[in-house]
């Protein structure tokens, strides 16, 4: 179930968007699968229906879902490729922030690169161990 946090910094419609995107990326919502109606989702989350409508409208504009008149909203065909694009975007943002922070601490480029590589190697090793 979608969870939202009213005390959060992030507006409710953004939270709804994010939750739906993550469900698509995890395969919980498959292509052409219907999304809950605005009315039902709004009642379930106890939020204003206009908030849900806004989230759906933006998801549609971004290409993740499509609307069929009178039938509701559905997951778009190419949503998964969009999601991978989205992932790269998020990843880049995280790195940008980290690099900016490191530069503030006067770290040299080589130091940043080394720290990153070490961590990546360690994380990947840990992941493989976890699998076996």
């Amino acid at each position: 179930m979608i969870k939202i946090e009213t005390s959060s910094f992030i507006p409710i419609y953004e939270q709804i968007k994010k939750e739906i995107k993550s469900r698509i990326s995890l395969g919980m919502l498959k292509r052409d699968e219907p999304l809950p109606s605005i009315r039902d989702l709004a009642a379930e989350l106890i939020v204003n229906p206009n908030t849900v409508a806004r989230a759906y409208r933006e998801l549609e504009m971004e290409g993740f879902i499509y609307t069929r008149k009178g039938k509701g909203c559905f997951v778009a065909d190419d949503s998964s490729s969009l999601i991978s694009e989205e992932r790269v975007k998020i990843l880049n943002k995280i790195f940008d922030d980290a690099i900016e922070e490191a530069i503030k601490f006067d770290c040299a480029g080589a130091v940043i690169a080394k720290a990153f590589e070490e961590r990546l190697r360690r994380a990947m090793k840990g992941k493989e161990k976890g699998k076996s």
Binding site: I4, T6, S7, F9, P11, I12, I38, R39, A42, A43, E44, L45, I46, V47, N48, P49, N50, T51
Partner: protein, 291 residues
Amino acid sequence: MSEILKIQNLSKSFGKNRILQDFSVSLEKGRVYGLLGKNGEGKTTLIRMIMGVIPPDSGEIFFKGKKITFRDADYKKEIGYIPEESFFYVWMRIVDVLDFNASFYPAWNAKKASEYLERFSLDRKSRVGKLSRGMKLKLGLVVALAAKPELLILDDPTSGIDVPTRQDFLKNIIRELSDAGTTILFSTHLVHELERIIERLGILHHGHLILDENYEKVKNRAKRIRLTFGNTAPAELDIPGILTAKKENERWESVIYPWNEEIEAKIRSISGTRLEIEPLSLEEIFMSFVS
């Protein structure tokens, strides 16, 4: 935008006690307006004037563009009203309450009333006198919604009601909002109810509407800052828009409204300081305005 309710310069006193002063507000059709105020700030007085229960000393109220005069009854057929303490005759059975109310409202929807009774597990034959407070609230909701109102006024209806009943109540309000595009005026001192639902926020304080703004804008414009000074903090903070401020050693903590880039630039230009900026919950925003 189309206005459904417009209030202009409304004032009301009880004896020497001035309750409302020059109160003006306008409600857009199909939107949810949250009116916050502490107990005894005049929320109920305002609503009773809208409902024509008491006359204002001065000022005007317009419903769908038509001026309301005191004791005018016609317009009330289009308004659903759920007061803090729903009033029904204790000797009536639920079915009698529905019949009784149906006679007042031309747009009464008996089918809807039945649906809601079932959803709320209310028995038609129960006597009102035997209902719990939560059940009476649900009955009040059934009556208000079966009347197919264009405007629904909720006057602190959920105070003293347990959380599951409250959530159930709100869910049904939301369904109504989706289906019928009803305009809602939600007056409360329970802030949590409003946070997820409202589109516009009004704060009533000492008889004045001290805030009347799109809620999303309010959330973006209300910020708490913590400004830590390298050595000693100054005795006063010279920043516009301070709602609350307190000093603790070398740090000032303050709530600022309306926050903007100029203010941020101004604060950042104070040398030798570290600035933290935080958003606020509706409850914190409300408390900052009225404390």
